[in-house]
Symmetry: C2
Subunit: 342 residues, 2 copies
Amino acid sequence: METYTIKDIARELGLSTSTVSRALRGSYEINPETKRLVMECAERLNYRPNPIALSLKGSASRAIGVILPQVANYFFSQAINGIEAIAYNRGYHVIIFQSQESYEREMANVQQAMSRKVDGLLMSLSSETSDVTHLQDVLDKNVPLVLFDRVSSELNVTKVVADNFGGAFAATEHLIRSGRRRIAHLTIQPWLSITQERLAGYRAALEQNGLEFDEALIRYGTFGPDEVGPMVDELMHLGSPPDAFFTASDRLAVGCLQALRQRNLHIPDDVSLIGFTNLNVADLLDPPLSTVVQPAQEIGQLAAERLIDQIERKHRALPIETVRIPTELVVRSSTRLEAVKL
Amino acid sequence: METYTIKDIARELGLSTSTVSRALRGSYEINPETKRLVMECAERLNYRPNPIALSLKGSASRAIGVILPQVANYFFSQAINGIEAIAYNRGYHVIIFQSQESYEREMANVQQAMSRKVDGLLMSLSSETSDVTHLQDVLDKNVPLVLFDRVSSELNVTKVVADNFGGAFAATEHLIRSGRRRIAHLTIQPWLSITQERLAGYRAALEQNGLEFDEALIRYGTFGPDEVGPMVDELMHLGSPPDAFFTASDRLAVGCLQALRQRNLHIPDDVSLIGFTNLNVADLLDPPLSTVVQPAQEIGQLAAERLIDQIERKHRALPIETVRIPTELVVRSSTRLEAVKL
DNA sequence: TTGTAAGCGTTATCAT
DNA sequence: ATGATAACGCTTACAA
């Protein structure tokens, strides 16, 4: 499986490289017969244009960069799957960079992606990122950028996100309707868009149902597996302790479930628990975990579609919008399973 | 954040591009003073060499290609994490390709990786792959290749795998020791290396314990979520039905657990179950799932390390070997669970 | 010690 | 309709 270049074809056919190049890309100004010969020869040699050379030349690299915090994560790995599926169909390659939740690394990743001449960039911000000038630079260079999941309000770009507000609202309201009054909310870093939206949904549900929003029931942070337990204890020892937990991530949901179990708190008799998570075995857990599920794959697909649309129609201005995809609240109990679409 | 080239530095300093190039890479034959000037200027302009140009030139691209079946998978996403960590430390980028378990796509991926001039290739074979000539081509082009997890015996390359034989042996022996005699084995495609090794471990454990190896208890395939149930039924209706299940993948383990639960079979009183899986909430399931865990991240790290070693010391011949990393058998029982329910 | 020029694979701009 | 040439950013003989 040798690798041939335009030069080889040119030599083989006694033509110039420019003619071959034109023939290959079906230029109208070349002899149909020549075209046929070139095509046939290219086919025979299994010619493949060198993407590196193409990129260097400045034209499309047919690669899109994906920068996200972590691959080993239920949500993101599913999202990548969606991205890759669309990209593959439309003839693009996906170059994945992990920021590992580090602002430093995210900036380095952006640099690298740019210098690898990706045709566009798909990003979900690291939890350390607040300043987004590195992304403004991307836009200034006219490289299409689409944000998904963890987005920034400071950038005027297309964003694809789950309906975090709606999901949080539904979860909280469900807890209220089932009689809960003191709902704790364990969440991640407060400056992230998803955190704010979920918190807003939680708060709105409380207020619309005449319940007080109590800061004492909110916990922000990056929690390791061993840190959730103490936090649960802390909350349970409040003057008026929570009768339910609403958690904002996979890890928090699992950590909280584990903590509650270890403390012999029965769910949902003692406390209720709903987690924002894409864990796909939630129904097999003990007890089954009620979840707000983000359509990760769909988010990835949509983000990739928007990005490639932008790449391919650079001339026309495409509308900049925020696409919000509904989440699904799946309430699970040991006896029944009901899905509520928002 | 403009992007500067060697030319810019050369112009700025009134030097030639070659001098700048040499200075940048610290060639011994240039004036220390000039070197200093160049370095200072490069620093000031935030100069970054263009990797595309480097690749085209034929030198290192400092990128490694990773071709694997699926990102959205417990094992692979963790492995990627390990790979990326090592690659980042050693100054390499990771370009990920998903074969989606398709031989066609795997070949296309290899082509693409090659034409993107990756410095080396890390692969786990698709479940459709039996012919490996596309990988022999890679080797013929002197591109370092390391296989992990799903490997091929036909290629003389370094391989990093979990100790599948040992894990399967341990799991099976554990089941036998706990009194099981008819252990069904649900597994994936028979031609995959991991399938064969696990089957061999299972068989060896049976035979060393004086139990008969019964083909009727083995099921191979790609099972969707709905197909495991019928298969379990089929097995349970055998003249002498299984009293235990040993499953070879995440999906099979979860599917089997679900099927057994739905059929009200109690674990481990009616049947026992151990799964080869990297699911990280196995202890929270109902009942807790005993697992054979592969050190996915470590496998990724080791594979990446070997590959980069090979890339960087192309001159010396590095030993070709198969690294086998121990798996961990985690036996979980529901005793704690019952305590909670009291 | 530094500069010149060729070359990596491709395409765009001029010729012819 | 086709060919020659320059250019993309960088490295590397070879000259000076």
